[in-house]
């Protein structure tokens, strides 16, 4: 087995993207604007964390489906219908892609086809199968392909990104990490223009596998950059060239400057910072375990084809709901009981996990600050001729750290939820506690409660009692 794995790197690399042929294009067919101005616009991020993350996200979506209200058209709608965008990482990408293909009605099938199944056994059986060894040793088959095959066989059944990229469907943005540059690579038609590759032709299972290619355990997903000599009909990168050619952007807006630089590098533009001929993708959680960067870009970056800023400025978004589903768990650490200096394994664990946790906390804070800033601007503009005047903001975070320690029942939920491992297999009890935690955290959140009140909505049957706290991102009426 080890010999086969060692030989695996000798196989010919198989690039999983298709070059855009002459005249080929990557049209963006989705829109962030709601079907009617009175309907809320819901933007979500799903973190990584294996099946724990997938199950937590699915539990929140199921609760949203159970949250119904009557809109101005006189019809009853549910909150899951109002999801316009999901930015996802790793395990969260499984649920995001599934939701993008099947909507909230398909969540029961996700449960039976994937969440409740022993997926690790399938991967392990595949790993000890001599045919797999042969494929690893003598073909371009890689360890990540086993996971990709699992996703395709169990969930996506040869669906491509074209199936997600359809009018009326939400933006589903799986995020991977470009392992050489540490950049977040988001699977969008716009980004595929940069590498002159067909977005629509890419299998959904490849995008999800790239987003969930946990380092060391799995090999990266490999792409070839086809930008040189591109024959496709790709969008302009005027915004990037302006950002790179003026002396102010790197002081005024460094994140946009960096994104412009990455776009220019991918396109093999003038004065590249990096020469990028090949891309190797690992788990999106390495660069941004919450998927906040892509959501932020979709919401406020003028260059982002999701067009959030245009929709805000035109007054198309009156109620903006941003939901962060963070499946980060915090199991008890034996290091606290160890009097001796921790060994190499402990140090490696800390090096892998602590920066991701710190990064997650920072990006969560940054998004909350942005929402507060937009909310204040919307409030201050009430008397002015601005499309965003009076826009309501609801920032909802689902995070295990928000399970209180006030009762024995809550402490038990907190402790059990934090013990659920990062794996593609959960026991029935682990799945149950994860789903319970998702419902508990979502239904109690003050901004969810505020949204219910503002929409005149009905919560799902048996919903948790509200907490008498203020929704800090919503402006005063």
């Amino acid at each position: 087995m080890l010999a086969a794995l060692a030989l695996a790197s000798c196989g010919t690399t198989q690039y999983q993207n298709q070059s855009l042929g002459a005249g080929g294009a990557n049209p963006e067919r989705r829109s962030i604007a709601p079907p009617a101005p009175d309907r809320p616009v819901v933007l979500m991020t799903f973190s990584g964390g294996g099946s724990r993350a997938a199950a937590l996200a699915a539990a929140v979506l199921r609760d949203m489906k159970g949250t119904t209200y009557v809109a101005a058209d006189g019809l009853r709608h549910d909150l899951a219908d109002d999801v316009r965008l999901i930015s996802s990482v790793s395990g969260g990408s499984v649920t995001a892609a599934w939701f993008g293909l099947h909507g909230a009605d398909g969540l029961d099938e996700l449960h039976s086809a994937f969440l409740a199944r022993d997926n690790m056994q399938t991967l392990e059986l595949d790993a000890v199968n001599p045919i797999t060894w042969f494929r690893l040793a003598f073909t371009s088959f890689t360890r990540i392909r086993a996971q990709e095959d699992l996703f395709d066989e169990r969930l996506f059944h040869h669906a491509t990104m074209a199936d997600l990229n359809q009018p009326g469907r939400p933006f589903i943005l799986p995020n991977a990490t470009d392992m050489a540059g540490g950049e977040t690579f988001t699977f969008t038609p716009q980004r595929f223009d940069d590498i002159c590759s067909s977005f629509d032709a890419l299998p959904v299972s490849t995008a999800v596998a790239a987003s969930a290619a946990f380092p060391i355990a799995l090999s990266p997903v490999d792409f070839k950059n086809n930008a040189v000599g591109c024959q496709g009909s790709i969008g302009s990168d005027e915004w990037a060239q302006i950002a790179l050619s003026n002396p102010f952007s790197l002081f005024l807006n460094l994140p946009t400057y960096r994104d412009a630089r990455y776009t220019n590098d991918l396109r093999h533009g003038k004065y590249p910072f990096r020469d990028i001929d090949y891309l190797h993708f690992l788990d999106g959680g390495i660069a941004d375990n919450l998927g906040v960067k892509s959501l932020r870009s979709a919401l406020i970056a003028p260059s982002d084809h999701a067009g959030g800023l245009n929709a805000i400025n035109r007054g198309l978004i009156r109620k903006l709901v941003v939901i962060l589903v963070n499946a980060r768990s915090d199991p008890p650490s034996k290091i606290y009981q160890e009097p001796d200096t921790p060994g190499v394994i402990g140090a490696i664990n800390a090096v892998v996990s602590v920066p991701i946790e710190a990064n997650t906390a920072n990006s969560q804070l940054a998004l909350e600050a942005l929402l507060t800033e937009i909310g204040k601007a919307a409030d201050a503009a009430r008397a002015l001729h601005a499309g965003f005047a009076g826009m309501q903001i609801y920032g909802i975070t689902v995070d295990y750290d928000q399970i209180p320690a006030d009762t024995a029942e809550h402490r038990a939920l907190r402790d059990q939820a934090n013990l659920v491992p990062t794996s593609w297999t959960l026991t029935p009890a682990q799945l149950d506690v994860t789903e319970h935690a998702g419902r508990f955290l979502f239904e109690r959140h003050p901004c969810y409660r505020r949204l219910l009140a503002d929409l005149g909505a009905t919560p799902p049957p048996g919903a948790e009692a509200p907490v008498n706290a203020a929704c800090v991102t919503a402006s005063a009426h």
């Binding site: 950002a243 005024l252 245009n310 201050a380």
Partner: protein, 67 residues
């Protein structure tokens, strides 16, 4: 705020991307921008500069007029 003929509302483009309409207050992240309008028949052909430090109550006003 990007001003033009109120009888002829145009799309406002920042660095080539549509970000709203003329004669309404717009919000943008701080940066250097080239502002243009959709269609033609307006002057100047573009406005370039830094947009930073503005407030909802103290916006920057950029004016275009018919050519």
């Amino acid at each position: 705020m990007v001003s033009f003929d109120p009888q002829d509302p145009r799309d406002v483009l920042a660095n080539g991307n549509v970000i709203g309409q003329t004669d309404t207050e717009l919000t943008l992240p701080a940066d250097f921008y080239r502002i243009t309008l959709s269609g033609d028949g307006y002057v100047p052909p573009s406005w370039e500069g830094q947009i930073a430090g503005t407030l909802v109550t103290r916006p920057l006003e950029i004016r275009f007029s018919r050519a």
